[in-house]
């Protein structure tokens, strides 16, 4: 006869001492389960969330142009560079681009090459003399990066830029896309 047909009532009767024993055993079970779960769960969870808690990488200046004399004045220039990126256990190379803009040939502005809307690469529209994103027709001002038209939620992401020995250096960063605030990704 199968097991489950045999005792159909859940016995609640019993002396006080047996109730006390059962309560004690329940507590022992709970403690055993909780201790086991913590011992395994803590390292498992820590390892799982580890990437979300990584410290930001130190800033690196990347040389994007050798000689400022060769850059156009008044017209933005797109420069690309290869960056060695530590991608978890892989060392990979990423091709990134920034737009450089100068009005006087001395002071430069650098914009991250991705549109702040959804990350498409925008282009310079010579006719309108502004940045234009072909994906959803966002438009940006060349001098300030401000949004002129279209869906982008914030101005272009300006990057720290420096001129040393007539070479242009940029601290390349990516920011979270599609939101009004400029938050590093």
């Amino acid at each position: 006869m199968p097991e489950h047909q045999k005792h159909s009532t859940t016995e609640k009767s019993g002396s006080d001492s047996s109730l006390g024993r059962r309560a004690f055993l329940r507590r022992v079970s709970a403690a055993g389960a909780a201790i086991s779960a913590v011992m395994v769960g803590v390292p498992v969870l820590r390892a799982f969330v580890s990437p979300a808690l990584q410290r930001p990488k130190p800033d690196v200046w990347i040389k994007v142009a050798d000689d400022i004399a060769l850059l156009d004045v008044g017209t933005p220039v797109r420069v690309t560079f290869v960056q060695t990126v530590q991608d978890a256990w892989l060392e990979s190379r990423a091709l990134n681009g920034v737009w450089l803009f100068t009005e006087d040939g001395e002071k430069f502005k650098a914009y991250n090459g991705h549109c702040t809307h959804l990350g498409c690469s925008y282009i310079y529209d010579k006719v309108r003399q502004g940045f234009f994103c072909p994906c959803h027709h966002g438009q940006f001002d060349v001098k300030t990066g401000a949004v002129l038209a279209g869906p982008p939620p914030r101005p272009l992401d300006e990057l720290p830029v420096e001129v040393r020995d007539s070479a242009v250096y940029v601290q390349y960063r990516d920011y979270r896309l599609g939101i009004p605030d400029k938050i590093e990704a």
Binding site: S29, V44, S50
Partner: protein, 499 residues
């Protein structure tokens, strides 16, 4: 909470589930020995949870496997602990499964009516061994690579199907990318699914049939054989009576199980913390000096293969596992006497202690045989010239006279016990001096027993390769030491020494 319970209870009969699973009565006299099965289940849960996160940081390709494992240890929070838990958890699985099997065997619990559950348990045992074998390769370090090389080669000695079997295991003729991907798929997909399914049936049967009572309660006045017509009735009658003295599964038994589980996991945490999982140098298929050793639970088999003569090796390598499978599977069918206690089963007692003793002896012998640990390659990786030199060093069997880092060939030449140890030769002689010496040793030491390796034995390029390799030998922490060359060249000197 209470309302939710009632709502569900009306629909899915939770109280019924509780009655069947938790309130079921257990036979009296269950011991702590009865917790091995549930402890195995607890460790399996540990393996699954740690394994899932390990898989998130693992790349099953020879190019990246090792780096990804190292990345986990260095750059992921609790990564080393996670690996340690999984590594020691694997050993714990084997220990607990064996302990559970021994418990079931010595209490005769595999006899009527639990033959089927014994078979499922045997299946689980082999799945666990499969986990060990496939998981061992994944870090792709020296130990992993060479142990799997040997493991698959053993399978290759199987008569008739050997060659096919090796290709099947390796996903090709050579151990490589396809092997790693294959082992990974088996380890994380096939084996966990198989284990999970078999465990479910295994446990369902335990619930259905109830756990086996003490051996003594089923021996008094028992029909002599479990196949006797009167036996089932006798058994059920006795079993019902044994439950009179028993307790309920919840919380009595569960409390015991959970205490043991917590204890086992605590031991795993301590082992993971203090001993860790270890990671040797990356797998190097050109390194022929590496002495591979399997994980400890394969050692009895490994050691046994060393002891059998070559002509019998194939028979033992393929035959022993086959016999083991057969014996374990057939056990409940040829052992039909109704005696359950080990005290009343002399043959079972003898076989159990025989197998345990022999395994312990073989593991002991294997541990004694253990070669001194090869220090991992320290400092910079070898250049291509030095690698070529190392290959030549082995091909020319320099190791049959000279030891490097405590390793010399097994067929070491006894005539030349005073051949110098070359472990730190790179600190003592320059490459150019060694080049000249190898070409004509007697020019340096008139009574040198070393044969000349100059042309035509080896070309100048080859000698140079060996010299470069030898110059790279500086022992542990050699890169921090400054070489003190004691090169002296004999008088009529042809080669000039570079500073």
């Amino acid at each position: 909470m209470r309302r939710m319970f009632r709502w569900l209870d009306e629909r899915v009969d939770l109280a019924g589930v509780r009655r069947v699973l938790l309130d079921r009565k257990m036979p009296g006299g269950l011991t702590w020995w009865h917790t091995f099965g549930s402890a195995t289940l607890a460790v399996f849960a540990v393996q699954v949870t740690t394994g899932v996160v390990l898989a998130m940081y693992y790349s099953p390709s020879p190019d990246h496997a090792y780096d990804s494992v190292r990345y986990l240890g260095h750059s992921v929070m609790s990564g080393a602990m996670l690996r340690g838990l999984h590594h020691w958890g694997a050993s714990a699985m084997v220990v607990l499964v064996l302990a559970h099997m021994i418990r079931v065997f010595s209490m005769g619990a595999y006899k009527y009516p639990r033959e089927v559950n014994w078979l499922l348990g045997v299946g689980l045992f082999f799945v666990v061994m499969g986990f060990g074998f496939t998981g061992y390769l994944l870090p792709w370090d020296q130990k992993a690579y060479w142990a799997t090389q040997v493991g698959t080669n053993i399978a290759g000695t199987t008569p008739i199907i050997g060659a096919t079997l090796v290709k099947l295991l390796r996903g090709g003729t050579q151990l490589g990318a396809a092997t790693l991907a294959r082992f990974y798929a088996l380890h994380v997909l096939v084996l966990p699914l198989s284990l999970g399914l078999i465990v479910m049936v295994h446990l369902a049967l335990v619930v259905r049939q109830g756990i086996a009572p003490r051996a003594a309660t089923l021996e008094k006045d028992a029909p002599p054989r479990t196949t006797d017509a009167a036996y089932p009735e006798y058994y059920h009658d006795r079993y019902e009576k044994s439950k009179g003295a028993g307790v309920r599964f919840w919380p009595d038994i569960i409390a015991k199980d959970l205490v043991v589980a917590a204890g086992v996991i605590l031991v795993l945490v301590l082992l993971a913390h203090f001993a860790g999982a270890g990671l040797e140098a990356p797998a190097d298929p050109t390194d022929t000096a590496y002495v591979p050793r399997p994980e400890w639970y394969f050692l009895p088999f490994y050691q046994l293969l060393k002891l059998v003569p070559g002509s019998l090796e194939a028979a033992v390598a393929a035959g022993l596992p086959a016999v083991l499978v057969l014996v374990l599977l057939m056990l409940p069918f040829f052992d039909r006497r109704s005696m359950r206690s080990l005290a009343h089963r002399p043959i079972a007692r003898l076989s159990l202690f025989g197998v345990l003793g022999a395994s312990a002896f073989l593991i002991g012998a294997s541990v004694r045989d253990e070669p001194p640990a090869v220090p991992p390659e320290v400092g910079r990786p070898l250049t291509s010239v030095e690698r070529a030199g190392r290959a030549l060093f082995k091909a020319q069997q320099c190791g049959s006279c000279h030891a490097v880092a405590g390793v010399s060939s097994p067929e070491r030449n006894a005539d030349v016990p005073d051949a110098p140890d070359l472990t730190t030769i790179g600190l003592i002689h320059s490459a150019s001096w060694m080049h000249s010496f190898m070409e004509e040793p007697t020019r340096f030491h008139a009574d040198s027993k070393m044969p000349s390796f100059g042309p035509p034995t080896l070309t100048h390029e080859e000698i140079e390769e060996i010299s470069q390799y030898l110059a790279s030998l500086r022992g542990p922490n050699g890169d921090t030491k400054q070489p003190q060359f004691v090169d002296t060249f004999p008088e009529p000197k042809k080669p000039q020494e570079k500073p």
